[in-house]
Symmetry: D2
Subunit: 341 residues, 4 copies
């Protein structure tokens, strides 16, 4: 049995707790949050062995094998440091931190301590994207030549969130940068950006944008494009196409249900499922199952701290490309080569 | 808490046990089967309070509120009788029996005893079919004029199964007869059949067929057609279209995943999910959840013993229509009117 | 060069004249109609060598090789008789007549006179339906087991039309009976009907219905179903599925254009093209081109007088099946075997 | 009647001649080509009033109202100059020339001479793309925020063609630059490029590439991306999505026919139609019809010389962006503002 402590009982923490519940060989040992009412709800629904207002209790609990870090990004580094000191395996939500040097330091430390360090790139566990990756690996698309990722949220976050989000690239595109590396099996080499605050001018107040076309060159010379928007009125738009020398693999959106309504004005079908909790439900379940399996059996994590760093580095390069209106080379912002998992 | 006893630990019994496991307010009290190794597997995976080789233990266990009857059809009547005597609520797989008079008797007895009697028409709990029904109820398709149900299995059952199945209409079409009543909200009035043993001549040895077009007239005068086949090489074909004065609602097949492969010969997409366990996974979960809710709260079952009788009666009428090459009127084979739930 | 005379300058006559215009080796010699203004319009747009109020002029014109009979059904037999006497090849709109004996007589006479006699089953020339037929011929669907044809008009005809149409089966289903024979490559053996006047009760005043499910057994034992309606609010519904031992071939509807509109309520796509002129534009062009080619080169017509008789016989059998609520066998209403072209 | 002279009887010249043939108010006066056998074929099939080996004959023929310039790009400027001197309206294939200054000069001269000057951007006449433009104009997509154009050829041209094509941007992307302006109704402001010779290294020998992601910012601040490839094994890939504040409009590929083949391995549907002659058949017909209408009635051309210059300017900017790995602003390479038609 793997004993788990969860730090942070907000939306994403609660989601992981629900999914832990589906796993037979896992014990929800403890949940920490400063919000007492969130804890109470969790306690009633999932009966952890204990709840606490202090993450320290979890980090020092000798019974606990692994921690899920679902707290605010600003807390990540300090929590990770203590988890490493206490020999806890770590699952951490993205981004690792807003300081790439600190991110690199803790990832290195976890590696030296022999701990599993999995970063919360849930989309890697989506069956459709995994299918596309498999089609690349087994040659069904041939040599990859172009990747297209469309990633649009149904509606923009509140401005208070924007203020501390780290900006579009590190908050939202980071998932797409990771997906690009996962699908292609190689690192991003160069990035350009066209974009703007097209939905809401207030994004500019935070030096941020809400809409972007992000062009990529991979190390092999293949190219790619990420289309991001903070608002799609038709819902959560999550599509992907991998184009290669032998064909293409495409992932369309997933509607709530398949029923069509044939009417006197239009043929009507359902919009995509509402947002990430619905679209990536299976992926979230698999993500946490695979983490506990890595902890238990020692198999490597599907996405590692290094993957977190690679995506964060790409986000930094994108921010620079946007600011300077030029193509930014990853090699110019990141001297170390990151291995592809 | 609802205490459940499961009689029969075969494929469908085990499926219900798995789904019971997802329900917080339900206790898996006991499982009965004469197959010891099936029981052992269940015991290890789901820890019922006890297992037994005798259904009697369950039927007489005062702790048990409700039984799931997942045994062979030939056992149903005797098990139902004892369940009624012992005041157990009943969930019974279809068909209730091969003898319509016995079916009527036990359904009536359960009703008089004030017990929940739910029949295992799992497809009623499928979100897509429920959506079509809702679109009829709220007027989105207008007055229903024509219903089309396509229901084809991926491959024919073994001949040993055919020998005791009761024939295509009572074994397979019974689900479609129930679906027709559920979608239309009215009874079937008349039935014609065109068909044959087109896949395997050995069906004829059992007086059975493997392929049929079954035409319907409903009590309102609306018409319908059911297309059945024991084999579709592209997989489990489960489609439905409701056509009315204001438009149509269509349910297509559901593929395993949505990824398309664009190749130099064809654009390729996935076949439908393999078979009923995959296609109706959500429906099976909801079916058993709704049954336990009916037991607990006294809400009426979504499909009742009466629904089981109505579908079985339609199956008998279809068999007669096929034999006599004429349109058979339900009123000529069934004098009592069955209420629509 | 083939010299053509067209008898009847109504909607369908005009359509054929337009399509003749696209054929390099064809001369529009003459057009006859009693409606002077229709003739004038034709004259201005297509410059036939002459127009006339009398079909006789065309039938006796020694320059004319072939006639297109686009007059009222009640005129067909008399026009065909004269065309045969004057050795004109014949293209005749469906049905040949309302009297099956007369239809048989003129088809036989044209055959004996060595004349091309093509019946206006335009749908045979549709590229999609031809593709399905080809997929049957080359084994891509294996042994055919079930055929489904959906054929619904966008809106019911005026009651004056209904009064003289000959009824649903001979006016509308006749196309589907022919399509069934064309796709399957075999004759219909037995027919049952469920239907009614569901759209407009006034159909009953003419002994007619507006909605029908017509079940078929073919001579091989394969089965089929035709779904007919005089009104589909979403437009002209023309679909087909051939299901066999190796797979299925499906023809969906064809929308006006492919643009989708992704909105905040639904994903919206276009309805099918309005009606037969739009849906079968290519088929109408090919139909008349193939007729002139048969006249010129002596190749057999794609659909012959015999095909017209076979479909008309099926329509008669359907009318009887509907009236008597039983399965009607073609062998009981038609002693002669009709060859499949 | 409009009298037309066609200069160049190659593939595209012949296509226009075929389409002229469909227009009632147009006379094919003359066709010029140095290739005698091409002329002979044209003469037999379309009976122009005369054919000639010298374009001069056409340019000086006082009977001719308009010329279609379908000769090699290197001949365009000289032919246009003479057409203007002789007061012929001009339809010219893209690009106007390889020298932007010369292009500007002749467009200006044609404008001053009051002549229609239409550039051969055939895709503007495609019904689907016109529908998307209309959906932008009538507000159905709201304020445009992002445009995506996918444009891939089925297979790369021969290297001899590459040698003189002017490069990917002016040969292929030029159509997409024009489409971008047409759909958005505004000029391109800035361009970045990621790309390479991924299909065939020999493109590099000509300073060319075969694969590109071209990012755009429009004058309004909206963004866009063009995905180009010289080879898609699944065929001619021509898609477009306009994304805005009220929704999105999408144009998928158009398959040869709609028949699906449901098999035991995949659901198979047809690839897109082979290449531009098939995909843009309707567009080519409309293009030439609209040109003759402009000549006849004086209505402005749907795409003008200015549109040709704007697209060519974008191609030049793209070449520079690719070379210098930076975002190039149109304002820096083109001082004059081009009006949007």
């Amino acid at each position: 049995m793997v004993n788990i402590g969860v730090i942070g009982a907000g939306r994403i923490g609660r989601l992981h707790i629900e999914n832990l519940h589906l796993l037979p060989a896992t014990v929800l040992r403890a949940v920490a949050d400063i919000n007492a009412s969130a804890l109470e709800t969790i306690e009633q629904a999932f009966s952890p062995q204990y709840v606490t207002s202090s993450a320290e209790d979890i980090l020092h609990d000798p019974e606990i094998d692994a921690v899920l870090i679902c707290a605010a990004t600003s807390e990540h580094i300090s929590l990770i440091d203590k988890a490493i000191q206490n020999k806890k395996h770590i699952f951490c939500e993205k981004p690792i931190s807003f300081d790439i040097k600190e991110s690199r330091r803790v990832v290195k430390a976890a590696k030296e301590a022999g701990l599993v360090f999995q970063i919360g790139f849930n989309r890697r566990f989506d069956p459709s994207f995994q299918q596309v990756r498999m089609m690349r690996l087994n040659g069904q698309v041939g040599t990859p030549e172009m990747l297209q990722i469309i990633s649009r949220d149904p509606s923009p976050p509140p401005m208070e969130y924007v203020a501390t989000s780290g900006g579009l690239f590190v908050d939202m595109t980071i998932h797409d940068f990771d997906m690009a590396r996962y699908i292609m099996g190689e690192n991003i080499a160069a990035i350009s950006v066209h974009g703007g605050a097209l939905i809401d001018k207030r994004f500019n107040d935070y030096g941020d944008i809400d809409t972007a076309v992000i062009s990529l060159t991979f190390e092999s010379g293949a190219v790619g494009v990420i289309e991001n928007s903070r608002r799609a009125v038709y819902g959560y738009d999550q599509r992907l196409e991998l184009f290669g020398s032998n064909g293409a693999a495409t992932v369309p959106n997933q509607p709530t249900h398949q029923v069509e309504w044939w009417q006197d004005d239009f043929i009507k079908s359902e919009k995509p499922v509402h947002f990430f909790l619905e679209r990536y439900q299976t992926a979230f379940e698999r993500e946490i199952a695979m983490f506990t399996e890595s902890v238990q059996s020692g198999t490597p994590a599907v996405c590692t701290g290094d993957d977190g760093i690679a995506a964060q580095t790409a986000a930094l390069a994108a921010a620079q490309a946007w600011k300077e209106k030029k193509t930014v080379y990853i090699a110019d912002v990141e001297s170390e080569t990151i291995e592809i998992s």
